[in-house]
Symmetry: C2
Subunit: 427 residues, 2 copies
């Protein structure tokens, strides 16, 4: 096993790639009572056009397949219900699908080995039939309808949809009623066989564990199973996403009390400078944090002017060559807020002192992460998905961020590619 | 059915008390796709000494019984698993136990009537055996151990434990390993028969529903069932909680990276003035919000002095005659922070303008609530538990809060009864 010391975290990360390609990451943390295990595949809603493991030609699967597949793995041929199994073994289990990955997880303070083997087994034992695929459609349709009632969720989805021209991140993770209804068990098996191949998956185990023992449990389990032969890297379609947004504005009505607004900036990060991609994202996030967080001067000003009552919020969406920054707010004066946001974003009125304070914040959260086996696990998981590797000294990387580079990067960004969505109360 | 119009929310609340004593509250919201249903009993961890429905003498049940009972209602005699039932019927189900109440809930956009009947049925069909009670102990023991690893949870529990002398709110909701192991099925039935009597429970239904139809479904369901006769109001022990805290300071060590601190103020609200209890609590919360929230000057000052990196946090615990306000922070300088908090709290340096802005905030959250059937439901539920009745015009009540009354109340509060807990990293 490879052992990596994580600087300033007082933790060691054990890594081994098994013969079948599965990457195993273990971070032991002593003196605590439980363990947290995630089993991840690099398969999310954005992986829509690809060459299947046993095919030669690119295929396109219906919107929402990754999430549908996640649901269906909880149905086992022998009738076992994974949630019931974990409830009986003192563990909490769950799963989630994002644009970039699907994660199956449990946490428990007892029966770790049994629970871990069960996780590997149920995720690696697909059981899709015409009947059970058909039955799931109704369940997911109801889930889709429930999301549709949430105004902030609607803002988020519309913001992405209107910003992106070609990239499949455009599409809601859960799909649409129409797309879901077109899913077949053949679609599910094509995705499953390709993206749930061990070489496209990884396990992250954090908590009170012995790396050697855990690894041998995993190896024994994996050695008993057979997988298809992967001839080459999975081929996924490339999208030549333009810089322009697909639609600049949209107004909708919903059954709400206070209007809600999103303002989205689309930024091409593939041609900004020779600084590493993750640093560019970190700089842009710092910039937005300084300018639009709840502690920013601009946020205070909006409150004093009674344009907002609750704080601004913002989030980042990673679109490979681009990123989207979505600013969200509730306001009785949507147009006034939008024009103020636009002029504010183009003014580089941030100072070194605030920059250093925000950096200190990030460093503190980084160190604080080591207090929680959940946060450590999420940190490893998203790093593997985003970077494909472990950054052992993120502490030093954050420390090295400089105000000069921030200025250079922000100067190079064109904030002209943006759009907005307004949700008004229904009359 | 009684119909109450909720001022400024554009909503109507339908209420009916059934013959068996069950209160039903329905708030229809059109143009959305789903409904949210909570089935609540006014039974939480604080209800520890009481006269059982079929007894004459006060009994004392082991710590953690309410939460244990919540777990056990999910085990049905016929082997049905409520989670599995709801998953198959397109619904999400859950339950939670607080110091004051236990809630069983589901949300769904389909099969509302079937899901609602199932909720009434599984909660009203207890099945406790010596064997299944014994088996549950191991599961809850593991849950207790998992909580013990969370530093903020530990801070919260220690803060309450050290602040309170007699009131059973002192005790962790989940109990201790020892107390859990002493629970018998007789304890569970004593609590169940007393506190799960329909007259001590209430249903809250929010969403796209027709009040008349839903009410008739509930009535039909309840009319088929028999309950014990309740001769009088449930008798619960009174605790004469003193104003002093039980312990003024405690330092512990955990496996963490950054020290964490809590500072807790114990305030007797039973003798402050003739203003209604809920207004007193609102004023005290406003005061703490102005002084210690992330947007307060004091929070900014602590950041500039590099005493904190992440914002202060605070929470309120309702202890009947008293309230606790717990301020939480991460800091490398615990003693400095604690002394600054102490001098800050005693200085009435808040102004009318900030007061009015914070009031606007509360009014905005109040109106915003009507955008979500979850928030409306929680609002009704906590009002029933706290106030025992619906406040139809909370909007006007918030508007009427005055800066003069704030000053009068704060002047009457003695902030001397306080304590702190510091968690240091293990060496």
């Amino acid at each position: 096993m490879q052992v990596i010391t994580l600087n300033k975290l007082d933790l060691e990360l054990y890594h081994e790639k098994l013969d079948n390609g599965l990457d195993v990451y273990i971070i032991p943390k002593a003196n605590i009572n439980n363990a947290y295990v995630t089993f991840n595949t690099k398969f999310g809603s954005k992986h829509q056009e690809f060459v299947p493991i046993d095919g030669k030609k690119m295929i396109k699967v219906p919107d929402g397949v990754a999430h549908f597949l996640e649901h269906k793995l909880f149905e086992q041929e022998d009738g076992t219900n994974p949630f019931a199994f974990y409830a009986e073994h003192g563990a909490d289990a769950n799963a989630n699908t994002s644009q970039h990955k699907t994660t199956y997880l449990f946490s428990s303070s007892t029966d770790l080995e049994k629970n871990l083997e069960f996780l590997l087994d149920f995720v690696q034992k697909p059981y899709f039939t015409d009947e059970n695929v058909e039955k799931e459609k109704g369940i997911i349709e109801q889930e889709i309808k429930m999301y549709q009632d949430d105004p902030f969720f609607t803002l988020y989805e519309k913001s992405i949809y209107n910003s992106i021209c070609k990239h499949p991140i455009k599409i809601p993770i859960i799909g649409t009623v129409e797309s879901i209804n077109s899913i077949t068990k053949e679609d599910l098996y094509a995705c499953y066989n390709t993206f749930y191949h061990p070489s496209n998956m990884f396990l992250v185990i954090t908590g009170n564990v012995n790396p050697e023992i855990i690894l041998s449990v995993i190896k024994n389990n994996q050695n008993k199973k057979e997988f298809m032969t992967l001839k080459s890297k999975i081929k996924i379609k490339d999208y030549n996403e333009p810089d322009k947004v697909a639609k600049t504005k949209e107004k909708i009505s919903m059954n709400i009390a206070i209007p809600k607004v999103s303002s989205t900036y689309k930024i091409n990060i593939s041609n900004i400078s020779d600084i590493p991609r993750r640093d560019i994202i970190e700089y842009i996030l710092l910039y937005f944090e300084m300018k639009f967080s709840s502690t920013s001067e601009f946020n205070d000003k909006l409150k004093e002017m009674h344009i907002i009552n609750t704080n601004l919020d913002y989030m980042l969406v990673d679109v490979d060559t681009h990123i989207l920054i979505i600013i969200l707010a509730e306001t009785e004066k949507p147009q006034k807020l939008l024009s103020m946001l636009e002029s504010e974003i183009n003014e580089f009125n941030v100072d070194l002192e605030t920059f250093e304070r925000k950096k200190k914040n990030i460093i503190s959260s980084y160190i604080y992460m080591s207090d929680s086996i959940f946060r450590i696990n999420n940190w490893v998981t998203s790093m593997i998905v985003r970077e494909g590797e472990i950054i052992a000294d993120e502490y030093q990387e954050i420390r090295n961020l400089s105000f000069d580079d921030l200025k250079k990067i922000i100067d190079n960004i064109n904030f002209d590619n943006h759009n907005y969505v307004v949700i008004n109360p229904k009359k």
